[in-house]
Symmetry: C2
Subunit: 254 residues, 2 copies
DNA sequence: TAGTGGTCTAGACCACTCC
DNA sequence: GAGTGGTCTAGACCACTAG
C-alpha cells in the first residue's frame, strides 16, 4: 500500500483508502462499492479522478466493474508471482560474486533431433541454421550454471560474427533483441555423466533445469537449457494477491 | 499487442501504434519521443488522453519519463515473469487429473527449531502457537506433492476448528485469508529417507522444493514446504520484456 | 527560470446491460 | 428505457529539474 515516492496525490490517497478497506476485509469479496459518482463526491474529487482510481483497482484485480451493475470487490482469486530474471551474469552479480563465462563449444549447424529433445523443443520448428553454444558460468571460480543454447541465425544473423568467448550469450541477446518474449519451464533433475562433470558435481546430484524459449514476432530466437546446482541456487518470487481475470462473479451474496 | 475485447478507443489505437514503434526497433532504447503535447496533436487527441497512454507505457516499463527532459524508450531491461500459482488442488485439476488429499498429521504445538529449519524460517519469528499439518496430494492416485505446513493460530484462529482431512489447507487458507502475500523460493533437492517414502520415490531422486511464507499485515500466516517429484512436475512461466525500474538511464546517445 | 511531465476538473457523449 | 461505467476534452495549475 506504500507509494514509493512523490507526495500525496488525491489519486494515491483514495487508492490507499479503498485498498485498505479491501485487504482488511471490511469490504469482503463480492461487496458492492458505491457508484463512481458517489465515491467521487465522498472523496471530494472529480469523477475523472475517481474513475482513474477504480480503473487501476480493476486492472490490479482487486475489483470487478460492470456497466449498469456497479463495482464489486473481486471474488475468485489466484496468486500471481512476479519473478524478475535477467541473465546468469546479472544473477551472479546480484549475489555479490564475480562472474566468469567459459565458452566450451561453438559451431554453426542445423539442429538435430537430439539437440531438440535436450532443449525441450516439441514440434519440429523447422530446424533452421543455428549457432550452437555451450559453456559454463562461474561465480568466484565456482561452477554456477551450465548453459547450452541454440541461436536462430535467420532471426539474429549478427550472432554469427560474435565469438561468445568474451560476450555472454544471454546478455548479448538481451541487448541485441530487445522486447523478445520468453517461455521458461523449471524442473528438478538428477544430473549424470557429462552434465555432472560440467558442474563438478557428484553423479545424481539434484539440479534445477530451466528450459527457455525466446521468441519475437512469432519466430524463435533462441532455445536455452540452463542447469544450476540445486543447493547453490534458488529462484525466489514475490507473490501478490490478484483476482482471477475470468470467473469473478460479482454476486453480492458472497 | 492485441486488446482482448472492446472496440477501438483512441487510447488503444495510440498505445498499439507507439508499442509497435518500440518493439519493432524503429524507436530503439534511448530514443526520445516527442513531447506529450506534440504527440497529442499528431494523434488528434487531447493531452489527457495522450498522457494516459504514455503513463501506461511508463508503468509497463516500455518508456521512462522525466520532467523537463522528456520521454524515452527504456534502456535497462530485465525479463519479468508472471507466474500464476493457485494451490496444489488447482494445479492438479489444471493438468486434467483427479486431485485427492490425504492428511497424515495434525497437531497444535509451538514450532521447534527443527520445524523452523525445515520450513526455511531464518529469524526466530516468535514461534507462536501453530497448527502443524502434513499430508500428500495425489493426482490420479499417484503421489504428486508432499506438503508440510504450519498455520499461525493467532492470525487464523479459525483453523483450529477445521479438520483438514477433507479441506485442503492451501485452498482453505486462500479462501479464508484473502489478499495475503507470499514469498516463494524454489530449489532442487535430493530426497532421502522419509521424504522419499512419502512420495514413493527412490532414495536420492531430484525434487522441486518450494518454501512458501505467507503474510498479511506484517504477521506470518503460514509457512509451507512443498515437495514435488522433479520429473513429474514443472513450473512454467511466461516472460515478457520489461524495463528495469531503476538504472534506466534515458541518455539519447546510448 | 523556462519547459517538461503530473495532476485535476467540470462537463459531455457514448456503450453496454439489467430491468 | 434508464442507469452504470468507458471514454474524451479543453483548460488549468503545480512540481520538478535541466540548463
Amino acid at each position: 500500500m506504500g507509494h514509493p515516492k512523490g507526495q500525496e496525490t488525491h489519486h494515491s490517497r483514495i487508492l490507499d483508502a479503498l485498498l485498505q478497506k479491501i485487504v482488511s476485509g471490511a469490504w469482503p469479496p463480492g461487496f458492492q462499492l458505491d457508484r463512481e459518482t458517489d465515491l467521487a463526491a465522498q472523496f471530494c474529487v472529480s469523477r475523472m479522478t475517481m474513475n482513474k482510481v477504480l480503473t487501476q483497482l480493476a486492472q490490479d484485480g482487486y475489483v470487478v466493474r460492470r456497466r449498469r451493475s456497479g463495482t464489486f470487490v473481486a471474488k475468485a482469486r489466484t496468486q500471481s508471482a512476479v519473478m524478475a530474471i535477467n541473465n546468469v551474469a546479472d544473477e551472479v552479480a546480484a549475489l555479490g560474486r564475480r562472474h566468469r563465462w567459459r565458452l566450451d563449444a561453438r559451431e554453426v549447424r542445423k539442429l538435430g533431433a537430439a539437440d531438440l529433445r535436450l532443449l525441450g523443443v516439441r514440434r519440429a520448428s523447422v530446424p533452421e541454421d543455428a549457432l550452437s553454444l555451450s559453456g559454463v558460468h562461474f561465480a568466484d571460480d565456482e561452477p554456477f550454471c551450465f548453459e547450452m543454447r541454440a541461436i536462430n541465425l535467420h532471426v539474429v544473423p549478427g550472432a554469427q560474427g560474435v565469438g561468445f568467448d568474451r560476450e555472454v550469450p544471454g546478455s548479448w541477446l538481451l541487448q541485441t533483441m530487445p522486447w523478445s518474449t520468453a517461455r521458461n519451464s523449471v524442473r528438478a533433475v538428477n544430473v549424470h555423466g557429462r552434465d555432472a562433470g560440467r558442474l563438478d558435481l557428484p553423479d545424481g546430484t539434484a539440479c534445477l533445469e530451466i528450459l527457455r524459449k525466446t521468441e519475437i514476432g512469432g519466430d524463435w530466437v533462441t532455445y536455452a537449457r540452463l542447469l544450476y546446482p540445486g543447493e547453490a541456487f534458488q529462484l525466489t518470487a514475490e507473490f501478490e494477491p490478484k483476482a482471477a481475470q475470468d470467473g469473478a462473479a460479482p454476486e453480492t451474496g458472497g
